[in-house]
């Protein structure tokens, strides 16, 4: 049953984006209004078919999306799906590294906070978690940049790779767009180092946001499992405190955490738009911001609709994973 829900969700999101974006008028006027004489403008609108009834346009749009055609951008005349493949890899890479940061920080600290519940460690970790949430990713990014790139000069200021590394990766016969993998394929450790150095700050900026969420989540759930009978039983058998937290309390707490990761994807994608803008990380979010500035609403509508599909799909996959892990959840 759950699987069927993904269809209306995608449908609703795509419709919502279409209706909202179109209610402002047609994209050509938004982009070129005031720059062209009225008759030329009308001609272009007619050529693009934006003067037909909105319902016809909507049905046509749905048909196009069903066949994987999300439109063509006005500014540089590229298919939106091509933009997805070119820049999606960058966003995927950023999302992967930030999730890594979030796990590495969130889970151990969450366990510590749960174990020292209501003590000093717990209180400071919880304030840390709230700070992670309270700091806008772009402000965290700006601070990290200021300290580690500008003042200390340890890490690059922006971008995904330096020009030299980029050139080496460009010539690869079958490049993936995922710079980490491409860098490994060049076989040059300097390129890999360069790519990783560029990823550190954006990943931390975006990862901290999610780390705060994970920390609280792990804490709450482990507190729940720590007070169960089987943990008491294990303790009475002389199981070490470390093992108790790590194995007995943590494992059962994992299931709700996995469920919530699905919800975090939306947070992560929203954060990616801001992080990519801050670090000029040329991914989907960066392009979205660019097209927003250029008032290219065909591109914006396409990218937003695509992201909506991604979010719906991820939630669906996470539900399945949760069901596979937990025998109690059956759909």
């Amino acid at each position: 049953m759950r699987a069927l829900l993904i269809i209306p969700t995608v449908f609703i999101l795509v419709t919502l984006v279409f209706v909202l974006m179109r209610s402002t008028g047609d994209p050509i006027t938004a982009k070129l209004g005031g720059q062209l004489p009225a008759d030329q403008l009308a001609e272009r609108i007619h050529a693009a078919g934006y003067d037909r009834p909105i319902i016809v346009q909507y049905l046509e749009y749905l048909g196009q999306i069903a066949t994987g055609n999300f439109g063509t951008t006005l500014t540089d005349n590229r298919p939106v799906t091509e933009i997805l493949f070119t820049y999606g890899a960058a966003t995927l890479e950023l999302a992967f590294y930030s999730l890594l940061v979030a796990f590495v920080i969130g889970i151990p600290f969450g366990l510590i906070a749960a174990y020292f519940r209501d003590k000093g460690q717990d209180a400071s970790l919880r304030v840390f978690a709230i700070l992670c949430y309270a700091t806008p990713v772009f402000f965290a990014g700006l601070l990290l940049k200021l300290v580690f790139s500008v003042w200390l000069g340890w890490l690059p200021v922006a971008g995904r790779a330096s020009v030299g590394a980029q050139l080496q990766m460009e010539v690869l016969p079958n490049k993936t767009g995922l710079y980490t993998i491409d860098a490994i394929m060049t076989g040059n450790p300097a390129v890999l180092g360069d790519v990783l150095a560029h990823a550190v700050l954006p990943a931390i900026a975006l990862g901290l946001l999610t780390a705060g969420v994970f920390l609280r989540l792990v804490r709450t759930n482990v507190i729940g499992t720590l007070s169960t009978d089987y943990v008491d039983a294990a303790r009475s058998r002389g199981v070490s405190e470390y093992r108790l937290v790590r194995k007995h309390a943590y494992r059962p707490a994992l299931i709700p955490i996995i469920t919530v990761i699905g919800l975090q994807i939306a947070l992560l994608l929203g954060g990616a738009v801001l992080t990519e803008t801050t670090f000029e990380w040329k991914g989907l979010g960066f392009m979205l911001a660019e097209y927003l500035q250029a008032r290219d609403f065909v591109a914006v509508q396409g990218i937003v609709a695509l992201l909506a599909v991604i979010v719906a799909l991820t939630n669906f996959i996470v539900d399945i994973i949760a069901a596979l892990i937990d025998p109690r959840v059956r759909y």
Partner: protein
């Protein structure tokens, strides 16, 4: 808390029923510290927002005074404690005035989403049927959507991107409202579905009370428990969304109002050349305000949930709040994603949301 709260009169006294005051009395130790810290930060924020015109040394769009133009990117000095921006504005003044913009957006956004969300949730939960199903699926879809993206789309729809003070404030507020409505909707609907089955609702119906009377008098009054909580959480999210919109260039023009996100956007290039004051202060303002509001929300949340309340002093002063907590696991605060912390084995169904299996 002493014995006076234990022996309670049938109707609780007023000071126990005022939301925050009651929780403050109920809290102990660290919890109380967090709540007080949050209240202080929030208090400062509200104070600055109200008295910004009196506190700020200059206007938010002021470029020159009697001594001439302020100059661009001036480091902090006696005249400009926080320096000046690339556009030649006084950073301190814009930080202070920014509080006013932020609070306006919070008030409008939260009020609008509160009314719309509560009304929809009440009608949907009370009448059920196809309307209910449609609304639930719709709200679930919106809830799953990255809220910032939705806010961007709404900002385009409302203002085409740029605007004056009220236009900008309303555009930002309504954009945020659309994101928030599903949250109120879910909570109120879940409560309504639960309360609808209570005996007193049945008896009211038997006595011939009209639907609207039952809905507003019997159901609504009993389903508002968690609202103060969502209220605080949404306030902090509203600030972050506003700043995000401003940062992406969909905020309010600098001459119309001071907005922290816009200032941070302009500070982006400053940072690369080592100019720190234009980024640090507006950013800190956001962090402190969100921190303050979230601390209050977090503490209220914990105090409302018996599983998370401090273990040492539990039941006495908890009152009705503790009976049933709709907020699972106590981590609703968890972040823009909300609803983090579903308890073991708990699915969305238990909150009347989600899908039936």
């Amino acid at each position: 808390m002493s014995t006076d709260t234990v022996i309670r009169a049938p109707k609780r006294r007023l000071r126990d029923r005022i939301p925050v005051v009651h929780q403050l009395r109920q809290s102990v130790g660290l919890q109380r510290g967090m709540l007080i810290a949050g209240l202080v930060l929030t208090g400062i924020f509200v104070f600055v927002a109200i008295f910004a015109p009196l506190i700020a040394p200059y206007g938010f769009a002021q470029l020159r005074d009697a001594a001439g133009p302020f100059g661009s990117q001036q480091p902090p000095s006696a005249e400009h404690l926080f320096g000046t921006t690339v556009g030649g504005y006084d950073v301190l003044s814009r930080v202070l005035w920014g509080a006013q913009t932020a609070i306006l957006v919070i008030i409008i956004a939260v009020t609008l989403s509160l009314f719309a969300g509560v009304l929809l949730g009440l009608v949907s939960g009370y009448f059920g049927g196809w309307l209910d199903r449609v609304l639930v699926v719709l709200c679930d879809a919106i809830y799953a959507f990255p809220s910032l993206l939705l806010a961007i789309v709404m900002a385009i729809v409302i203002s085409g991107g740029q605007s004056n003070l009220w236009g900008g404030v309303f555009a930002a507020a309504i954009s945020i409202t659309v994101v928030f409505i599903p949250q109120y909707f879910r909570v109120i609907r879940a409560e309504t579905v639960r309360i609808k089955a209570e005996a007193y609702v049945e008896s009211a119906k038997v006595l011939g009370a009209s639907n609207s009377r039952v809905m507003f008098r019997h159901v609504l009054r009993n389903s508002t428990r968690t609202l103060p909580l969502i209220f605080t959480l949404n306030s902090s999210e509203a600030i972050l969304t506003l700043a995000g919109l401003g940062f992406l260039g969909f905020g309010i023009e600098p001459t119309a109002a001071a907005e922290w996100g816009y200032d941070l956007n302009k500070a982006l290039s400053d940072v690369s050349s080592g100019i720190w004051w234009t980024a640090l202060y507006p950013g800190l303002a956001i962090v402190l305000v969100v921190l303050g509001i979230t601390l209050v929300g977090e503490s209220l949340n914990d105090l409302a949930d018996p599983r998370l309340r401090g273990r040492r002093r539990v039941a006495q002063a908890s009152g009705e709040v503790a009976e049933t907590s709709v907020v699972p696991g106590g981590t609703l605060v968890a972040g823009p994603g909300g609803l983090a912390g579903l308890e073991d084995g708990e699915s969305f169904d238990e909150h009347g949301i989600g899908v039936r299996s």
